[in-house]
Symmetry: C2
Amino acid sequence: MLGLGGSVATPQEGITAPVLVVRSFEELQQRASEARGKIVLFNVPFVEYGQTVAYRVRGAAEAAKSGAVAALVRSITPFSLRLPHTGGMSYADSATRIPCAAITVEDAERLQRWQERGQQTMVRLKMSAKFLEDVRSHNVVAEISGREKPDEIVLVSGHLDSWDVGQGAQDDGGGCLQAWEALRLMHQAGLRPRRTVRLVLWVNEENGLAGAKNYAQRHRSELAKHVLAIESDSGSFQPTGFTFKGSEPARTVVEQIGSLLEGIQANQIISGGAGSDVEQLAPAGVPVMELKVEASKYFWFHHTAADTVDKVNPKELGQCAAAMAVMAYVVADRPEDLPR
Amino acid sequence: MLGLGGSVATPQEGITAPVLVVRSFEELQQRASEARGKIVLFNVPFVEYGQTVAYRVRGAAEAAKSGAVAALVRSITPFSLRLPHTGGMSYADSATRIPCAAITVEDAERLQRWQERGQQTMVRLKMSAKFLEDVRSHNVVAEISGREKPDEIVLVSGHLDSWDVGQGAQDDGGGCLQAWEALRLMHQAGLRPRRTVRLVLWVNEENGLAGAKNYAQRHRSELAKHVLAIESDSGSFQPTGFTFKGSEPARTVVEQIGSLLEGIQANQIISGGAGSDVEQLAPAGVPVMELKVEASKYFWFHHTAADTVDKVNPKELGQCAAAMAVMAYVVADRPEDLPR
């Protein structure tokens, strides 16, 4: 059992209460009268991250509205070896800030089975999670200055921070390395594109996006000349292409460039949101992209003690770096600007 | 980190010593002079269980011969989510009984990397594993008495005990259920074969085979009339057939019966050893079998906290039970004896 970001510490002696297991927010609403004074467990099978993670993010607030004294969340993963997955959560201003923790899929299923056979289970929840004061930290920035238009910028990036239970090798150490490698490959090949290629390793993606928000603020006068911002934050697996959010004319260009990656089957361009950090630049009109990869195992490791470097296949990491390097280099070097 | 069966408890304050990581017994021999006073870690990648488990079984004894103060073993698994795997081990009479524990694949690989970059790592090993006094326990036996030759016995079995870190759902709860189901299916279908079909749920497979050894002793006068003994102890996955150890004429019969299971692709008969329990009956001439299954994931769960009931696919469990029921029923009901 692990604390989640933003959780309120429980008293030293813990909270002991009966557990109510629900499969959805709808079931909680139907059984709201049973939730009062209990620990509500959201035992929701993984369907798709964006959908299932709502229970980690909003579970405590929804449980509190029904009078629960704490919330538990089944770890957000399609596969478990008795491993809890942590991650961000938030409270509602209108609801009591009750403690919230993630438990393993196996333990959630066991509590479900006990409930279904009519057994009332008491849970003792003891956590030591707490917020510390913020400390000063930094994005890491490096660049190859453009040979013709050094003030125009193609940004490649990953995020430096990770959940402390593991090493953050997939989320997002590999993304940082890919972006770093993209610059290193250009440098090694003696390539200096027309525009500047800037590497940014974002700090604090997981817990508030302070690095990206700060960048968007400090560099706001340059954002009109940010031609494209790419992030990799879906792990270092076999690359399949990129998401893209920008104008249709820009998309056409990006698809043409993507076709250069057909040889490694990384040529798909999918409309849709990009990594959380580069999304902070989108409101200023910056076209944004995220590297997409074969994603079937990413959430096996995500936000766990098992997100370790042995999970990264060096060949796949290299292919990701190559895909990012090609996209960044060609956009940075083509004579025409990427249309906004 | 988990204690292994048979480990000697460390002192309350633990053992603190530098670690020496080796990839094989051969490497330990080459570096024997470095091992003295150290904690030796066997970081051996999983190849095949029978081969790799030698490091869990003999690692402590081999390390002790080189003067090591404790042994660590990389968990015996092809895939890890930071989960330690426990299991049996043994000491050599000629070597000091040093403590021994399993660590995760990830942690073993990390210690290897640190060693390879020239870093000396201190490990503090603190364990509370100990032997308690044996207590009386029992095999569970049930049978459908044969309608013509009730003194001739076809035995179906699994083992009741498991490593206490998990539930033992795959090792070997499912095997017990399969054997139980084989009898239940016959009973439900109103089938009473010529010979007796006896269910045995063995106790103490994991830690000395006391149940099977006791059975072999107490029932020794009946063993000449044990026509066949089947065990399931490789998990409840898609069945592929059976191993068989017995005479060539018997093997021919068993292959013919196995062909009845072609419809569920469970018709392979492979020469080779059977489950550890029924192997105790083999010296008396009893032909023995083990149900074989699609085994790619069994060792992901084996001897861990993740060997829980959610890992068992009910359909696959049912197919295993069907395969065992068919084999046991036909051998028990055919007019001719199974040749020895």
